[in-house]
């Protein structure tokens, strides 16, 4: 192969490595789950007659054989390694492909292990590059041992400044003991290899079991599924109610408690389901600060480890869902730039702390991300802004409810009395939640309605700041403030309506005053 490929020197050939042999099983296993699923579905629908079963088995065996052959071929072709400051990845059965990623362009390393991989003790490594994701796929290496992955990460992430491993093992890292969570979070299976001595994190945070369940129970997901179920049930009930018109009222009276119980049960099951999903995803959540990067780790079945350089962090969001706000809890997320990670429509948001009390936020940020721990005080919007907040929602609410009321009469006459207070209340809450604050080199923007989101943006991460003023706002000296940051591969706008114009101008001057020397003090 090397002879036909002039680019690859014999020296490189020697220095490249294969993935673990068990990677064949891993790749095959992943693809055959789907095939088996399809096979079982076919069997089920064919009514399990003997001929179909026989066909299915032969077909399945063939597919597994072919699949095994293909994954074996892919494995024999795959080579990776670090040669002359480049991460080299060679792959491809038909089309041979050689990628060379300069180490300097590597921004982060994600390590992932699904259930099968964890049983084997193998992991998948994904290399995040600057500007990657949008233009080129991220490089990924499937099926190497965890210690192999960790040493690769150490080499790729400029850990050359770090002193070669002090003889303290990972077990001695702060806050981590040999508890059940720790054992269940361990990715090391049969083939993991020895534990490496590697850099100690300067700070480590672990989500406790009780907080894990609380986070699941108070997530917005629970809220959404609750209302979805309620809506669906309501829909069903009204349909059933229409059909049951002929049935006598006694039967309906009996059916009502049963229906109520059924609704309660369904809602309960759905909520339990969404809590369980969240618990499985966030199990053993850990985040730590190691040198100039943040690492997070989570998952009960599939374990994901994300590494992100602090340099890439653009803003911090402290989020309170309505339920969490009542209980005094928040979650901390960071938005990063330039990663291909396509969570949330290209926005690269990573959870740093899934659930923390208000008093814990500052110490946690101090440990994990001291660059963004500064918390400017939020200045609420002026009283006169309330009128602008109320005006349009009230108008729309009135129009939306008055038309059906006028046309349909009857009970619909009460519609404005219901809708108008609702729109006015939500506008009032939005006004009370909104606010902007600045302190030294940090901007904070608060928004929400029942919940709250605080977005902290360092001045050095503010891409632009705009103020807008319409004629109505001009009369009362208010403006709309738009701060633009980067999230993922695109811009992200943070809009605050009806800010005092003088305050907004001070912000413009604050941004314009920033000089390069001031920049270096910040992130």
């Amino acid at each position: 192969m090397a002879a036909s490929d002039p680019v690859v020197s014999p020296a490189e050939e020697d220095r490249l490595k294969r993935t673990h042999t068990a990677a064949i099983v891993l790749v095959l296993g992943r693809s055959s789950w789907q095939v088996m699923g399809a096979g079982i579905a076919v069997l089920f629908f064919s009514g399990l007659d003997q001929l179909a079963v026989a066909f299915a088995f032969v077909g399945l065996a063939l597919l597994v054989l072919i699949g095994g052959g293909v994954s074996w071929l892919a494995w024999t072709r795959f080579r990776y390694g670090i040669v002359d400051g480049h991460l080299i990845i060679r792959e491809g059965i038909v089309v041979h492909r050689r990628r060379a990623i300069p180490i300097g362009r590597v921004q982060g390393i994600d390590i992932k292990a699904d259930l099968l991989s964890r049983m084997l003790g193998l992991v998948e490594v994904t290399v995040q590059t600057a500007g990657g994701g949008a233009t080129e796929p991220e490089a990924s290496i499937v099926g190497i041992s965890l210690s192999e992955a960790e040493s690769l990460r150490a080499e790729l992430l400029h850990d050359r400044k770090a002193t070669p491993a002090v003889s303290t093992s990972r077990g001695a890292a702060p806050f981590i003991g040999d508890d059940a969570v720790n054992r269940m979070s361990d990715v090391r299976g049969v083939l993991a290899g020895p534990e490496l001595d590697y850099e100690l994190p300067s700070f480590q945070y672990r989500l406790s079991i009780s907080r894990l369940f609380l986070a699941g129970a108070t997530s917005s997901q629970v809220f959404v599924s609750f209302f979805v179920v309620l809506g669906a049930v309501g829909q069903l009930y009204s349909m059933a109610g229409g059909a049951a018109d002929a049935v006598t009222s006694t039967v309906r009276a009996l059916a009502l408690p049963v229906a109520v119980l059924a609704v309660v049960a369904i809602v309960g099951i759905v909520i339990a389901g969404s809590v369980t999903a969240s618990v499985i995803a966030d199990f053993g959540f850990t985040s730590r600060r190691v040198n100039d990067r943040i690492e997070t780790e989570r998952g009960l079945l599939e374990r994901r480890m994300i590494g992100l350089p602090v340099r890439r962090v653009q803003s911090v969001r402290i989020e309170q869902t309505p339920l969490r706000r009542l209980m005094g809890f928040s979650a901390i997320h960071v938005d990063t730039a330039g990663f291909g990670r396509s969570e949330n429509n290209g926005r690269a948001r990573t959870a740093l702390v899934p659930l923390a009390r208000r008093s814990e936020i500052r110490p946690l940020l101090h440990g994990l991300l001291p660059e963004l721990e500064q918390a400017p005080e939020v200045k609420p919007l002026p009283q006169r802004a309330l009128r602008r907040y109320l005006f349009i929602p009230a108008l729309v609410g009135l129009a939306v409810s008055a038309v059906p009321a006028a046309v349909l009469q009857g009970a619909f006459l009460a519609l404005p009395l219901v809708i108008l207070p609702l729109t006015i209340m939500s506008a009032y809450l939005a006004w009370r939640a909104a606010g902007v604050g600045v302190d030294g080199s940090m901007l904070v923007i608060r928004s929400g309605m029942f919940g709250r989101t605080h977005t902290r943006i360092p001045r050095s991460r503010l891409q632009s700041l705009a103020i807008r003023q319409n004629p109505f706002q001009k009369r009362v000296n208010l403006v709309t403030l738009v701060a633009t940051t980067v999230s993922g591969s695109s811009g992200s706008k943070h809009r605050t309506r009806h800010v005092d114009a003088d305050d907004a101008w001070r912000l413009i001057e604050w941004l314009a005053r920033s000089t390069p020397s001031q920049e270096s003090e910040t992130v």
């Binding site: 730039a337 330039g338 050095s460 991460r461 503010l462 891409q463 632009s464 700041l465 705009a466 103020i467 807008r468 003023q469 319409n470 004629p471 001009k474 403006v479 633009t484 940051t485 980067v486 695109s490 811009g491 992200s492 114009a501 101008w505 413009i508 941004l511 314009a512 005053r513 920033s514 000089t515 390069p516 920049e519 270096s520």
Partner: protein
Amino acid sequence: MNTEQAPTNRLDPRVKTAWRLQSGLGWAPIVIAALVFLGLAPVIGMSAWPGVITLAVVVSLLVLAVTIVPEVRYRRWRWEVRDEEIRLQTGLIVLELTVIPMVRVQHVDTAQGPIMRALDLSDVHIFTAAGEHAIPALKEADAASLRDRIAVLARVTDDGGL
């Protein structure tokens, strides 16, 4: 908005011509479609009223877009390139002022479409990591020198922020 703070420079007055041509060409297909419909309506036995109404609405909008709108936009468009920031002010009814710190500018280029080329005008596009801003319609030579000036200022203060 605070008028003392407004950026100092205007666009080239010929931008009004460019905008007029652009909106004229943009509306042309609808005008043509409406005219064709008017011509065909009696033949296929349909009422001509939808065509008449469309034409009336489009033509009145077109008149607005060609007369008042470019004038107001031109009067409101201001820009200023300072050592440490770029300020742009735009607007028709809602006035918007944008400040881009020079350190955030990643690259800058000039571009011109066919209309702009015919008028010897050029746009300056300013790119940050979060997107694009433009100063439309400067004289070609001015645009080129502004582009180079921004490039120099942006490079001098480059902190590799991203």
